[in-house]
Amino acid sequence: MTVSVTVPTAMNKRAAQAASVKMSARGVKVFYGENEALHGIDLDIMEHEVIAFIGPSGCGKSTFLRCLNRMNDTIAGSRVEGQVTLDGNDIYDPSLDVVLLRAQVGIVFQKPNPFPKSIYENIAYGPRLHGLARRRAELDDIVESSLRRAGLWDEVKDRLNEPGTSLSGGQQQRLCIARTIAVSPEVILMDEPCSALDPIATGKIEQLIDELSESYTIVMVTHNMQQAARVAHKTAFFHLGDLVEVGDTDDIFTNPREQRTHDYITGRFG
């Protein structure tokens, strides 16, 4: 099986667009109890860009990712300070409905987590929650188009009623991506989406990320620096709860400004 990753063309296309800021973080601190996990992060995420967060384990990159759709709310004892905006609106505003936020900013987790339901029901779950389809036919359309965009339709179209857990690991992860796409988010967060997958499945997901960046803003956490280099337009390096450096992926990997970034990408620590 050959997997083609067409990063350079995608990047060139994107560079031509006049990008606008999709999400923005200012002075974001996260506390778990007394422990400060993030020490004030400032970051802008442009529309339709793929940005990768890299850094050693425990550096806070996943924590920051989860701030972007308030998944940190589900962890007991966690507290967020600072400001995060989506299209200029503060997402930590008390009047904001977190349920609607998560429909706009979807998330794909490290381990594929299909619901113990059929493949069809896995995809239909989100649209049903948000009342996106009035008739069964509309729902069928959403399910089909989501699966097509996730590149899974041809593999599962004849067995939509089988349980989602019967798929292979890579298929399950694409099912989870399709499930996220089904609610038409604007931003998709991916928390190490390939760390539980083999290289072939990883290649498919990377290709998918590249295609999805046409329509969505994608923020991904990865431990795999080659992966960041392959798919991300921009890369941000986190270390010990600080955002050390952010810039175009090429610059980060070939010409980092900070010594710590240089040490990390050349394998001195991490």
Partner: protein, 456 residues
């Protein structure tokens, strides 16, 4: 006396331990490396010394009475051989009482006195012989084991084997007890079915056993159905109360309650399971029954104070903790990744619970329900006090009913005669109940196990 004997053996074993310990140290002083640490040699010597003696003691106790009885019977006058089995039992009991110095009613026959003296003599002889044999075994064991202490002896491994055997023996006791209970139930139930045909018992709709004293001519009617129906009705009411309340409690405790509340509330709910059922019973009889009856008057429906409803309601409260704590455990076991998945799609908490967590936990929750049901079916004290004991087939939950368990209590209290169907029916009822609850438990365990495999 026996206790003194056991204590003596234990003391001897402690001394044997010391002997083994010092012996192994002496061997080690020669500069050789022992296979095991000295303590193990001590334990091994102690076991060699004590175990055979204790085993002999146990076997002797089991057999002595039977052997003495046979010897005594042989010495009885020849004309007594014509006695029936039951009469012989009575006679032996009299002789036994005389031998141990207790009085007996009626005139004491000369041959009884002779037999009693012989029995006493045999017993004391047997005891002396047993003590002597135990002493010999202990000494032989001690000497043999002590001689065997050498650097090559794998005392550690041998002690390990004894411990394994001990543990296996302990679990054997529980299993053998279960088997014994089942066998005795089956045996006596078969005995019962010699009087009443199984078809009559299992499909009979009238329960009217009569008293065994009211004459042999009129046979009672032993129909199981009214009792089975009563049991099922009370259990169903109990489950109707316990399942919604228990499940909602579990959901609140597992998903919503802050940790401090959970830590306080869970033990309090579990206390419900620790209240003796007799207390629930009189609570039902004194408080709930009259309350329901008054409520019925207000609404214009006749509710008896002791009825299926009263018993079922209180039983339902009793089994809430079974449903809630089992369901709670199972709900907490649903992986966080599934919850995150639902929340990440923009589900609210209750949507997540209803649509993802509960379906995922369903097999386990059903298992919890089945365990609660088997508990309800076997429950006795509450129904004895609050169900009214009226074994009639009817569908009105506001009327008194009777259950299998209540009937077993009734048939086994007062004068018992285990050659009449009136008493023997208890075994057939017990067997029926056992089969029902066993079936439910097996199904529940299978269901729960299947669920566990899904996420481990």
């Amino acid at each position: 006396m026996n206790l003194v004997l056991i204590a003596t053996v234990l003391i001897v074993m402690a001394m044997a331990y010391q002997v083994g310990l010092s012996r192994s140290r002496a061997v080690a002083d020669g500069g050789v490396r022992l296979h095991s640490r000295p303590g193990y040699y001590g334990v091994l010597v102690a076991l060699w010394c004590g175990l055979p003696a204790l085993l002999l003691f146990g076997v002797w106790l089991l057999l002595q009475d039977a052997i003495v009885e046979v010897l005594v019977v042989q010495q009885l006058p020849a004309e007594l051989a014509a006695l029936s089995e039951r009469e012989m039992q009575v006679l032996l009991r009299r002789i036994g009482a005389l031998a141990s110095g207790q009085g007996v009613s009626g005139e004491v026959q000369a041959y009884e006195v002779a037999a009693a003296q012989q029995m006493a003599r045999l017993e004391s002889m047997g005891r002396l012989a047993m003590i002597a044999a135990m002493a010999v075994l202990a000494v032989v064991g001690l000497v043999t084991a002590q001689r065997r202490v050498s650097p090559q002896l794998r005392a550690r491994n041998q002690v390990e084997r004894v411990i394994t055997a001990l543990l296996a023996l302990s679990s054997g006791v529980a299993i053998l007890t279960t088997v014994g209970i089942v066998l005795s139930l089956v045996g006596e139930a078969l005995h019962f079915f010699r009087y009443i045909s199984p078809a009559e018992f299992f499909f009979g709709t009238v329960w009217n056993p009569r008293f065994s004293t009211s004459g042999v001519g009129q046979q009672g009617e032993f129909g199981l159905l009214p009792l089975l129906w009563g049991t099922l009705m009370v259990s169903a009411i109990a489950l109707l109360v316990a399942i919604p309340l228990g499940l909602m409690t579990a959901i609140y405790m597992a998903e919503y309650a802050p940790p401090w509340l959970r830590n306080v509330a869970k033990p309090i709910i579990e206390v419900l399971a620790g209240i003796p059922t007799i207390v629930y019973g009189f609570f039902a009889l004194i408080v709930i029954g009259p309350f329901l009856s008054g409520l019925g008057d207000m609404l214009g429906i006749g509710i008896r104070a002791t009825s299926a409803l009263t018993a079922g309601l209180v039983m339902g409260i009793m089994i809430i903790p079974f449903v809630s704590s089992l369901s709670d455990d199972i709900i907490t076991q649903v992986p966080k990744s599934l919850r995150d998945g639902a929340l990440g799609l923009g589900a609210t908490k209750s949507e997540m619970i209803r649509q993802v967590v509960l379906p995922a936990a369903l097999p386990g929750i059903v298992g919890a329900f089945l365990l609660a049901a088997s508990r309800a079916i076997g429950e006795t004290m509450i129904v004895v006090l609050a169900a009214g004991n009226n074994p009639v087939l009817h569908a009105n939950p506001f009327e008194a009913i009777s259950t299998i368990t209540v009937t077993i209590v009734n048939q086994l209290t007062g004068d018992m005669d285990f050659s009449s169907p009136q008493s023997l029916v208890a075994f057939a009822l017990g067997l029926t109940l056992f089969v029902i609850t066993l079936g439910l438990n097996v199904i529940a365990l299978v269901v729960v196990r299947k669920y566990r495999q899904q996420y481990e």
